[in-house]
């Protein structure tokens, strides 16, 4: 366990950023926080969480896959992959750290997504315990401890100091480079952890009943009438999907500038009417089906394929940002009640 005074945070960031890119949450002009590349003058956000999740680090919204160059009637392939370089993400909350595991299970199983894998290998994740969870937080429902986030390094912030606990080899290696850190006592943060856990106890959805969901629940849930009412006012926008730390669907598109063609992937949303549209048409023709797909995937299909792990981490982003305030909690509660 190491520590550094809060007033010295800047020197810590500078030290980390010395040989790599460092992303930290900073406040934007409207007071919301975003992961941005640290530079001299960056100020760490005190918000509970960022608007966009930390998944951007490995799975950016738009990523070039490859290019083609057309000369006359000849076509040649162009490598467009970013060069591998190590980077660090600071301030990842417990929920987002868990989301990496969920994404890994998709992208790192065979066939491995090499674009994702490359970034994943080169990252050092520095998590940060949640000092002041929001009413929308419900990570505890998924067994996540906001007081003890995972990651290569785990940090806690008290009034005066930032505590630093490396968890992995990568974390140790980074720690070794950071002479600005001083030794600290593990006991120093016990009080902070307890406070976080006490707040977590009070979270309205901290003990959300998930018993209706999980492996093998497809038949029970699929044709339930509640889906219609739940999805009724869904606008079909992609807000929930794009801010969700575990949504991992993408579309592959091409951009032709007349000389070269760029094949890139970009986030897609199962809420969109053209999601997985094929020549025969739309497999999920109405919003109800698309809506159901999203929540069934998070709460049933994914657990079915991944030893019962839910593809939701309780970060609460969708609770805040859905334009019509429909969200996974309402779905869990409505469907849960319906099955009782």
């Amino acid at each position: 366990m190491k520590k550094i005074a809060i007033s010295e945070l800047n020197s810590l960031f500078a030290a980390i950023a010395a040989d790599r890119k460092l992303y930290i949450p900073t406040d934007d002009s409207t007071g919301q926080s975003q992961f941005t590349i640290w530079e001299e003058g960056s100020i760490l956000s005190r918000n509970v969480n960022t608007v966009r999740s930390a998944k951007d680090s490995f799975f950016p919204q738009v990523e070039n896959l490859m290019g083609f160059k057309v000369t006359g009637k000849q076509i040649e392939l162009i490598e467009t992959r970013d060069p591998a370089e190590s980077f660090a993400v600071f301030g990842v909350r417990a929920c987002d750290v868990r989301s990496f595991d969920i994404l890994d299970r998709v992208f790192l199983t065979e066939p491995v997504d090499t674009y994702y894998a490359q970034r994943r290998e080169n990252v050092c994740i520095i998590s940060l315990a949640c000092g002041k969870p929001s009413e929308t937080c419900f990570c505890t429902a998924f067994g996540i401890d906001p007081a003890e986030p995972k990651g290569d390094v785990t940090c806690w912030m008290t009034g005066e100091a930032l505590y630093w606990q490396p968890n992995t080899e990568k974390g140790e290696a980074l720690t070794a480079q950071l002479s600005v850190l001083v030794d600290a006592d593990v006991a120093d943060i016990e009080q902070e952890k307890a406070a976080i856990r006490a707040t977590a106890e009070k979270l309205p959805f901290g003990k959300l009943d998930l018993s209706a969901f999980g492996q093998g629940k497809t038949k029970e849930l699929f044709n339930r009438p509640e889906w219609k009412a739940l999805s009724q006012s869904c606008l079909g926008c992609g807000t929930c999907t794009f801010i969700c730390p575990t949504c991992q669907c993408y579309d592959i598109q091409e951009f032709n500038n007349g000389k070269t063609v760029k094949r890139f992937r970009c986030w897609d949303s199962c809420m969109y009417s053209d999601f997985t549209k094929m020549s025969a048409g739309q497999p999920r023709p109405t919003q109800t089906e698309r809506f159901r797909q999203r929540f069934m995937h998070k709460l049933v299909y994914y657990p079915d394929n991944n030893e019962g792990i839910f593809a939701c981490v309780g970060c609460g982003r969708c609770l805040r940002k859905c334009p019509i305030h429909m969200n996974i909690v309402k779905v869990i509660k409505t469907m849960g009640e319906g099955t009782k």
Binding site: V62, K202, A229, Q232, C266, Y272, K321, P323, H325
Partner: protein, 323 residues
């Protein structure tokens, strides 16, 4: 506010309508969801009209009014402009709708309270000012500060079209809604460019602004349509950020009622209404005052002209920052 719920029950009970479009209670005090209620029981259980009924329901009528039976809808003044505009564009079947106008003193939502500094909110007490209960203690904030952006520059308390009114009919109110636009216009082009880059670069193309917008009601948006030639799904480039928002604003020009929903729903807090308002301001200045949705007869300025309209070069010579 209770009268609204009572009216919903009354309408269903009397058989005047078979469905009611309103707002449904959420898990918190602030997360109301637009919903269609089909029975008195449903209304009793879930219907609520409160300080958090900000969502404009009129767009739902495009689909709902085409279904069997009559539907009642509750419209705040600003919503009623959208309602009329949609009728002008033949998008909704008026005969299937029973419109109830309700007055409104401005709305809040969770995000607007959060911007005002509240976190961990568990409840609220409405009054002269708002007392917000949070996990970390109570907070008192001025109602004005917590109001939605769109309500802070409310343009009208007039309900343009309705079958029944709850409370008083209001009037257009003086509003300085163009002040922000004027402020931008007064900047240098470099400052404006920097401003919009900062704002638009946050766009994640979630389409919330478009999908909530009552004017953006195309059967298929050009940006979703591979045949259009401009289809794109992501902001792959700063150009596409600009392109999407310019074209979207252009497509709703003279049709946008300035209901403010786009800015309300933007997860990235991009002040999208400033784009639409720019067009409204320009139209007012160049072609005479025009308010979309304010009436049934006026011709939309982009589908109209005068022989002596100013030439496009007028923008070179008009106010705003010099070169």
């Amino acid at each position: 506010m209770q009268r609204v719920k009572e009216k919903a029950i009354e309408l269903l009970r009397s058989g005047e309508v078979s469905r009611v479009l309103g707002w449904k209670t959420g898990e918190f005090f602030y997360d109301l969801t637009p919903a269609v209620f089909e029975s008195v029981e449903e209304v009793e259980k879930g219907f609520v009209f409160s300080l958090f009924s900000g969502a404009n329901l009129s767009k739902y009528l495009i689909a709902e009014s085409k279904k069997e039976g009559k539907i009642a809808v509750f419209l705040k003044p600003c919503d009623s402009f959208s309602f009329v505009q949609l009728q002008k564009e033949h998008r909704i079947k008026r005969e299937n709708i029973y419109a109830v106008g309700i007055q409104c003193d401005g709305m809040c939502d969770g995000e607007s309270l959060r911007s005002a500094g509240c976190e961990g909110m568990t409840g609220v007490e409405d009054g002269e000012s708002l007392t917000v209960h949070t996990l970390y203690g109570d907070q008192v904030i001025e109602k004005k500060e917590a109001l939605l952006g769109k309500c802070q520059t409310c343009k009208s308390k007039r309900i343009v079209d309705f079958d029944e009114l709850i409370g008083q009919q209001g009037e257009d109110v003086p509003s300085d809604r163009f002040a922000e636009v004027a402020k931008l216009e007064a900047m240098t082009p470099e400052e404006r460019f920097a401003f919009w880059r900062t704002e638009l670069s946050r766009c994640i193309r979630c389409n919330a602004c478009r999908n909530v917008c009552p004017a953006c009601s195309c059967e298929k948006c050009v940006f979703d349509n591979p045949v259009s030639g401009v289809q794109n799904k992501a902001v792959a480039d700063s150009f596409e950020e600009n392109m999407f928002h310019i074209i979207r604003a252009f497509h709703v020009t003279a049709r946008c009622t300035d209901c403010g929903e786009c800015s309300r729903v933007c997860p990235q807090n991009i002040p999208l209404h400033l784009l639409n308002r720019k067009f409204i301001k320009d139209i007012n200045e160049l072609y005479g005052d025009y308010q979309a949705g304010a009436d049934f007869d006026s011709r939309p300025p982009l589908m109209d002209f005068r022989m002596d309209d100013p030439e496009p070069s007028v923008i070179y010579t008009r106010g705003g920052a010099a070169k």
